[in-house]
Symmetry: C2
Amino acid sequence: MPVMPGKKVVVVGAGPVGSLAALYAACRGFEVEVYELRRDLRNADTTPLNFTKSINLALSERGINALRSAADDVLLDKILTQTIPMHGRMIHTRSATGALSQQTQLYDVHGSFLRSVDRAGLNDILLDHLDSLPNVTFFFQHKLTGADFSQKKAWFEVMNKSTPSSGRAREIEIDFDLLIGADGAHSATRFHMMKFARMNYHQEYIDCLWCEFRMPPDKSGDFAIHPNRLHIWPAGSFMFIALPNLDRSFVCTLFGPVGLFNKLEAGLDSDLVSMFDKHFPGVTTHIKPEDLIAQFKRNPHLPLVNLKCSPHHFGDSVVIVGDAANAMVPFYGQGMNAGLESVRVLFSKLDQAQTTAQGLANYTAERVTDAHAIADLAIANYTEMRSSVTSKFYKVRKYIEESLDKYLPSLGWATQYSRVSFSNMRYSQVIEKSQRQKLILTWALRATVLAGLYGGAVVLPYLWSRRSQTFLWRP
Amino acid sequence: MPVMPGKKVVVVGAGPVGSLAALYAACRGFEVEVYELRRDLRNADTTPLNFTKSINLALSERGINALRSAADDVLLDKILTQTIPMHGRMIHTRSATGALSQQTQLYDVHGSFLRSVDRAGLNDILLDHLDSLPNVTFFFQHKLTGADFSQKKAWFEVMNKSTPSSGRAREIEIDFDLLIGADGAHSATRFHMMKFARMNYHQEYIDCLWCEFRMPPDKSGDFAIHPNRLHIWPAGSFMFIALPNLDRSFVCTLFGPVGLFNKLEAGLDSDLVSMFDKHFPGVTTHIKPEDLIAQFKRNPHLPLVNLKCSPHHFGDSVVIVGDAANAMVPFYGQGMNAGLESVRVLFSKLDQAQTTAQGLANYTAERVTDAHAIADLAIANYTEMRSSVTSKFYKVRKYIEESLDKYLPSLGWATQYSRVSFSNMRYSQVIEKSQRQKLILTWALRATVLAGLYGGAVVLPYLWSRRSQTFLWRP
């Protein structure tokens, strides 16, 4: 794409993905305007993001790589020093004798790790950096109400500060050369784009709700549990997880079927506490029962959606990135990473193409496949966490794959999890490779079993026939 | 539902489905407010509806039944006298010798027929009638910009008459007890409802565009072709159809894959005419080639979408009907009929329930199944029209089913088409019954063939063995 100073890129949404899109556009010399529905997220009086978004996230290679391609070392350092390494999962269970058991599963044989990051903190750093750039302007409390993507015009309602969602609002009309929609799963950009593009669209809620809790530091002010782990309390169809924060607290999340939530909402306070004591051993030592109850009542119980659409652009005027194009369930920890990566892919396609229209078409052509792939992986992981993980065959395969990765790295063997979390391989390719590996391993295992049977069939009778002649083998 | 005068029902959308919803609500004593994005459709200067909607439609039993349940005889008569009966399809082909062939297939052995109706005409009659009711108020040029379905509040932008889609707009806030979204496939109601309800949603464009043409009356001012037929020119992957109008013209539609449209758009004018002459015999005798070309260039080339969602309501505050809940491809001629029927079903559920919330929940529980069923049937008919219709087995089954219906009506045997178009049986039940019939017939046919083979295997050798003894049978 020819760099065209003076050309205007409008970004809708000033979350981490929108901020990164603004940064990429600013680096290329565009005039960038960022429109955000809410107030400036850095103001203390702005509604906390945890109303509909999780507070902290696992940042992994794809997210970091997308930041790396736009940010200088200083900015990247500033972001990474605000994160906490998580080298593996810690699985909390109770043994048959009732004793607490904490088992660590390292993520990767090569020492790769995830980083727990505070969404708002990451957002602040990016917004501050954008503020320092001469060609970026912010418009907070501006709500996209309409767009004409043939004429490249958009309309925003300027939200009245005193009555944010009612009253006589003022509407402004703006022109743009390219509009980037980074306005989340309920994207207004996508809604208006659907009137222009012939978009295939699919969204489905899974039977799972989530609710956040805070586990405070212990009495000495330190982390209550191991800081460098992603903690999981598995319980079949539901689970509890915890990610560390810089202030030495943990943000925890309860995931469970709608039915469980309905039962807990209708039940007694003590039912909630005994459910925790039964299935999530140790938690009520760190979150006081009264806090647990209060937080369950105060914090929203939110749904999880799986969203796929195609195309991700229309003509040369609009494109969607992040959750707006590809919202997924959180069970692979890839939502924000995929969102940040989508910005990197978009601009690499724009950089390589002769025209914006061609660049956007190339972005859709590549990204839709990968977006669908990670959405499918995330759903599959949801199933896996609840069933496959306990199957013997699954465990054997996982062990063999990890050993191959560790001892024969030249084979290029790696687990799916490691490719998703610690590489930048296209998601669709990760699936292909994993399926090929799975096939090879399945046949290898079958061959081994058959060889064993065959060997037994041949060798045992032979040994049997010699049993009287030797003392080496005794039945 | 207890009738509650003074309670306010807001209907979004004043098309045929929205108008009927307003009529149902008005009959039950509600204060009804109807908000419509466009100007009053009855003004001559309002953009013609054919910009995105087809001009005329096939009204069948479900649509009429829904009107019948709300309208008195005078109103229903006024509507039906504005329709033209179509007793069957007329299939236009060219024989091997090149001669034109026009073959009539009656719709139904009992003489049932479809009615060609002008969408705008039907709409006008309903709007005029609503205007005469004391408890209905219209608000044209009001665009739904937001809604809070927990607080039962909605915001509408009052469109400036001089600059309908830009400038400083005025926004109003209204309260309601129940909001009914009848605002079409691109429903803003549904968009805002999706922020409250956990809605599974699926939309998919099929590889088919459509473009409308007008076939004028002949020189003597009469219908150019048979007025009481739905005319079809089949051509494999594409086709041309014509429905009669009261002014003795026909509204015709070309349906074809995107590739065909692209080719025609890029090709010469003469290519369009020769395509018509080759595949749609006789059409250019009635539409002059220069008119055909001009209309293809002037009229929009529009996509077709298949849309499913669930639920169709949220709490006790909002419900969607018609295309907003259930847009389908047009190949079963059921779009508007299903839309009108959805209003009838909605109010029957509200009438029977103790509370609005329960009524809406019952509506979703029943209607989602039927909405998905007719959307599937419409897609299946699209496939059937292009392939199955030519299969011998299909034709035999169709013939047997029609014969059973005609000669043994007490068996309750009927074709799927007849149940969809000429009954009020639930769409999902139609599918069930058809599948059962298909199974029975398939086995009956197989049994017949087997019996024939078996018979042949037993009888033929017997006859063969006797061939020298008798003159009755000669090989």
